[in-house]
């Protein structure tokens, strides 16, 4: 039950975008239409679910104090290890997508390699380390966060498709209005806080 609670929490309450602003760059850049947003969102879920547990294993059995050899604390290497795992996982996903769905590969274009520098992925691993999750919790947390991110980007993409023809002040068009809508969505998501299963 605790795991399920954590899962729901990380989708709605501790949402990667609305509560921590992680992965905003690709969130803003790839949210112009729903189809690409769905593709990128799915890729993020996939990479997050692979990398966070993998990084948990590396952290627990190699980096933590006394984990590898008695008296050896490698935790200062955490950032480099995490980012290396993430970069290689992204490379893998890129190869799979290219093989399985060339259309999606073409649509995601430059943004697929950019998942490597998507803050939500590294953020997932860093939160996992900071909050000292176990392996089950890490899995639930990363799946939940991925789905939360997916939800956010698909929602904003749908809204941006709708407002394309709205009469918005010129300087506010595009980036500015997207920020303000995201803020409003964040307020809406705040109403979930306090829910406990």
């Amino acid at each position: 039950m605790d795991l399920f609670n954590l899962f729901i929490r990380s989708i709605f309450i501790d949402n990667m975008i609305f509560a921590y602003f992680l992965g905003m760059c690709s969130y803003l850049a790839v949210s112009k239409n729903v189809k690409t947003a769905v593709g990128l969102g799915a890729a993020v879920i996939f990479v997050l679910v692979i990398t966070a547990p993998l990084n948990w294993v590396i952290k627990t059995y190699i980096l933590d104090a006394d984990a590898l050899i008695q008296g050896l604390d490698l935790s200062f290497l955490a950032y480099i290890m995490y980012i290396a795992v993430i970069a290689s996982a992204v490379q893998l996903v890129e190869m799979i997508v290219e093989k399985v769905s060339p259309a999606l590969y073409g649509a995601l274009g430059i943004f697929l390699p950019l998942i490597a520098v998507n803050c939500s992925i590294l953020g997932g691993s860093l939160f996992m380390a900071q909050r000292e999750y176990g392996i089950g919790e890490t899995f639930a947390f990363s799946l939940g966060s991925g789905i939360g991110w997916f939800l956010a980007i698909v929602a904003i993409a749908a809204i941006r498709e709708k407002i394309q023809y709205s009469d918005i002040p010129k300087p506010l068009k595009g980036l500015g209005i997207t920020f303000i809508i995201t803020g409003l969505m964040g307020i809406a998501f705040m109403s979930f806080s306090g829910i406990k299963l």
Binding site: F76, L77, I80, I83, L122, P171, K173, G176, F179, I187
Partner: protein
């Protein structure tokens, strides 16, 4: 006497070359017309998350200026030796090393701020400004312009960060750097500015103001 003047002239000439108009533009452009946050749309994540108060925002800006400048210089030095296929990994490794230095430094000297910034120090690694500048500038330019470009973009980022932070702390907590400027008797704190949504509104408004001023419009 004559040699001294000659030397001075050489020095002056060198100084002019170092801070020529073109080089100065590398610093001044990112402050406004080519701002990394509001125009290039890079590095938004951390810009929003650390700006509830001015102090962490200030420390964060310094950290980012250091990391962009240092990794720009290092990559620019190595640019001819990096095979293009693995350049992303090389860049990430350099940036991660710089961030580890910053992290250890912060933990040693300003522990409370380091606790406040929590994971966002580590997330400098994936700050798109840094990767963006490495890809777009340092891979193709000499060391000195790369240093200036790094500093300029770092300052451009920091400027927006501080603007958002001042807005949020003043309106949300009625204080700047923890000093109360608007006591509760005159101004009732607006909690909206403290929650994450407030950051999004603040940045949205700054973008609006800046684009209206520069007449920079997006066409969709």
């Amino acid at each position: 006497m004559s040699t001294a003047t000659a030397e001075q002239q050489v020095e002056k000439k060198k100084g002019e070359a170092l801070f020529s108009k073109k080089n100065l533009r590398l610093i001044s452009d990112p402050l406004n017309e080519n701002n990394p946050i509001t125009v290039q749309v890079l590095g938004i994540c951390s810009a929003l998350a650390v700006t509830a108060q001015v102090k962490p925002a200030f420390v964060m800006s310094l950290a980012v200026i250091f990391v962009t400048a240092a990794s720009n210089v290092l990559i620019s030095m190595m640019r001819n030796a990096i095979p293009s296929r693995i350049r992303i990994i090389v860049q990430l490794t350099i940036v991660a090393t710089m961030v580890i230095l910053v992290d250890l430094f912060l933990k040693a000297y300003v522990y409370d701020v380091s606790k406040q910034l929590s994971v966002f120090v580590g997330l400098i690694i994936t700050n798109c400004i840094i990767m963006g500048r490495l890809e777009a500038f340092a891979m193709g330019n000499k060391v000195w312009p790369s240093l200036l470009d790094g500093i300029g973009n770092g300052i451009g980022y920091g400027a927006i960060l501080l603007m958002v932070a001042v807005m949020r702390e003043l309106l949300g907590s009625g204080s700047i750097l923890g000093v109360t400027l608007l006591p509760e008797s005159i101004y009732v704190n607006n909690n909206l500015m403290v929650v994450p949504a407030g950051a999004l509104f603040a940045v949205g408004l700054i973008i609006w103001a800046q684009r209206a001023h520069n007449k920079y419009y997006e066409t969709e």
